[in-house]
């Protein structure tokens, strides 16, 4: 039935003597929303950085579709279909919305200098495809009317949506969102919630999520992993996690 997309085993990251991540295991199946939660400083973002190639993990294996990706360069990993967003919005602020979308499709375009200078048919066709693809995704996140605006002038919620759309045009199979709801108002959070479910159900991708907004996490996750102080603490579905005494202790402290 549903296949294993991402399989992380014994992921460990040390910075000198500091063990930031210690033996974390994660499994993400096709068309699944998986969340990683944990108190501040638990090492969630470090896990993301290891998976996306920003850090090279000290130990452990990261298999994407049965292919080892630990140790690959960040851009190589994203070309294999694993794309992430960041805790703080990272758009190309001074470029327009549509340009942001086109940059993300860089590798799908004809980047040969000569064909670009003379606008060969192949170059034009790929450029047009990229444009249509970008327009399609701007419609999905309801930003088409702002296509020619500078990205930095959008509202915060719109910037968040643009960041997701920009990831989606790279045609990923696994989208990793690092606190996508941070700084959003309840209405925007609800829209985000719907968008993530739509990505799974209609666009058939998997989403790996770091989030502090528990109502969002509990509402949409198929599976939840809890990390505390770099080490795995618990895993299970929303109900199991809610009632897990270890998790409650980690979040609220001992009684």
């Amino acid at each position: 039935m549903s296949q294993l997309l991402l399989d992380v085993n014994g992921l460990t990251m040390r910075f000198g003597g500091l063990v930031a991540v210690d033996g974390v295991n994660l499994k993400v199946k096709n068309r699944q929303i998986v969340s990683v939660i944990g108190p501040n400083g638990a090492g969630k973002t470090t896990v993301f950085n290891c998976l996306s190639g920003f850090y090279i993990p000290t130990e452990g294996s990261v298999m994407l579709k049965n292919e080892q990706i630990a140790g690959l360069k960040d851009y190589q990993i994203s070309r294999k279909g694993l794309v992430r967003t960041f805790q703080h919005v990272r758009l190309f602020q001074k470029m327009t919305v549509i340009e942001n979308m086109l940059v993300a499709q860089h590798r799908h375009l004809n980047t040969n200098l000569i064909s670009g200078l003379f606008k060969t048919p192949n170059y034009r066709r790929l450029e047009k495809d990229a444009m249509n693809h970008a327009i399609h995704w701007l419609e999905e996140v309801d930003l088409l009317e702002f296509a020619n605006r500078e990205a930095g002038n959008l509202s915060y919620g719109q910037q968040r949506r643009l960041e997701i759309a920009r990831c989606m045009v790279t045609q990923p199979e696994l989208l990793m969102l690092d606190e996508p709801a941070a700084g959003l108002n309840p209405n925007e959070t609800k829209e985000l919630d719907e968008l993530i479910i739509k990505l799974r159900d209609e666009h058939e991708i998997s989403v790996l999520l770091i989030e502090h907004d528990m109502s969002l996490v509990m509402g949409i996750s198929d599976h939840i992993y809890v990390i505390s102080q770099g080490a795995p603490l618990a895993q299970g579905n929303a109900d199991e996690i809610k009632n897990n005494p270890d998790v409650i202790k980690a979040y609220l402290g001992e009684e």
Binding site: D74, Q93, T96, V103, R107, K128, N148
Partner: protein, 420 residues
């Protein structure tokens, strides 16, 4: 508040007094074999006094002066130009008109002006090249003149030792400069901002010092002279043909009287041709995936990496293409001068090119062309004040940063047509 302003004004006036006394008030002069300190004349002292008074008053009444300036309606370029849609249809005609004027113009003015225009065109090329690196890719390069030098020396040496012609050497010079850009690109891949600026500054100096000291090949400080001028399909522009038996001169071939202005105009026309090519190529590059990737890299490197862009390739391509433009300009420069020495490639040249890019507006081609014109023609017009040239540059910079921080013509983002 007001007392604060008063002290501020006193302070500014004091600084003006000190600077003026040091720079204008006291002069070292030779009297016989000795150095003597000479005071300024009464007239100069009145001017200094007047200047101090102006600084004092303008600091005291900044608010009122600002208010006054705000009352003057700013001429906005967008209102003077026709609508966007009209512009699109007019644009090819405007460009064609501009080129025709540029081509006809040298036949009507003096030799000196044509020569100056040629120099301006060289700076336009350099500005456009540096714009790729600084304006688009956001990599601050303070040693750009090194690539200019590499281009110039490549042509000079190839012409001197192997007798290769200008047209053959032009692409070779660009290629050599590109190679040096590529070599410089590698060690600085991980650097940004201040660190990158220092490394490139060092690189510029290395090239200059190398040229200065490698006497056997480059002629050291005395440079290379007698570099061959470009020819028109083998026709020379000298009085007598130099290039062997079957060489012909331009005026003989067309049965004209010899005039040295043919050569000047010919050089100018070559410069126009080169600038047109450079503008076209860079204009295309900016709208191509690679151009967008440069800008994306400037905006956010980490986001670029997460989207599958290979920053190594992108940075290297920016360095390489920027450098090759400088190499182009360098080869033309040495052909025009006929003589080059390391003196032509000092740090201040890099600074001027960078000033052109910043003044024009980072990333904006029209702005850079305008800034290059201003920066080369202004010193010529203000020849009488040549002692104060740097002072004028400084003043210009301060005024620009105060009133047009985005440059003369800020970049406008391309508006893409959404209809399929």
């Amino acid at each position: 508040m007001t007392t604060n302003k008063f002290y501020n004004a006193i302070f500014a006036a004091g600084i003006t007094l000190i600077l003026a006394c040091l720079m204008i008030g006291v002069k070292l002069d030779t009297s016989g074999t000795q150095l003597a300190v000479k005071g300024a004349t009464t007239a100069q002292w009145t001017w200094i006094g007047g200047g101090i008074a102006i600084v004092f008053l303008s600091q005291l009444f900044t608010n009122q002066i600002d208010a006054l300036f705000r009352m003057i309606p700013k001429p906005s370029i967008s209102t003077m130009l026709p609508e966007e849609k009209k512009m699109a249809t007019l644009k090819p005609w405007l460009i064609a008109g501009a080129i025709v004027i540029m081509v006809i113009w040298p036949f009507m003015v003096s030799r000196g002006s044509v020569d100056l225009a040629t120099l301006t065109l060289i700076y336009i090329m350099l500005g456009l090249g540096l714009n790729i690196v600084v304006g688009l890719a956001g990599l601050l390069d303070l040693g750009f003149v090194a690539f200019y030098a590499v281009g110039a020396y490549t042509y000079a040496l190839l012409s001197q030792y192997f007798g290769l012609s200008f047209w053959v050497c032009l692409p070779i010079s660009a290629g050599m400069a590109a190679l040096f850009g590529f070599i410089l690109g590698f060690p600085v891949l991980r650097l940004r901002g201040d660190y990158l600026a220092i490394v490139t500054l060092g690189f510029g100096e290395i090239i200059r010092i190398l040229l200065n000291n490698w006497t056997e090949v480059t002629g050291g400080p005395s440079g290379i002279s007698g570099i061959a001028k470009p020819t028109l399909f083998g026709l020379e522009f000298t009085r007598k043909a130099k290039g062997g038996e079957d060489a012909m001169t331009f005026h003989d071939y067309f049965n004209l009287d010899y005039s040295s202005s043919y050569k000047v105009i010919f050089l100018y026309l070559i410069a126009i041709l080169l600038v047109c090519i450079v503008i076209y190529v860079i204009n295309r590059l900016m709208r191509m995936p690679i151009g967008r990737a440069w800008e994306a890299l400037r905006e956010d490197e980490i986001a670029c990496r997460s989207l599958g862009l290979n920053r190594t390739a992108i940075k290297l391509s920016a360095f390489t293409l920027g450098a090759s433009t400088a190499g182009f300009a360098g080869a033309f420069f040495s052909a025009r001068q006929g003589f080059i020495s390391p003196e032509s490639f000092i740090f201040i040249e890099s600074a001027i090119i960078l000033a052109i890019v910043v003044l024009g507006g980072m990333g904006s081609q029209m702005g850079i062309i305008l800034a290059a014109i201003v920066m080369t023609i202004l010193p010529e017009l203000a020849r009488e004040f040549s002692e104060y040239r740097m002072l004028l540059f400084g003043l210009l910079m301060v005024l620009m940063m105060r009133w047009r921080p985005d440059g003369l013509i800020p970049t406008k983002r391309p508006q893409l047509e959404l209809k399929q």
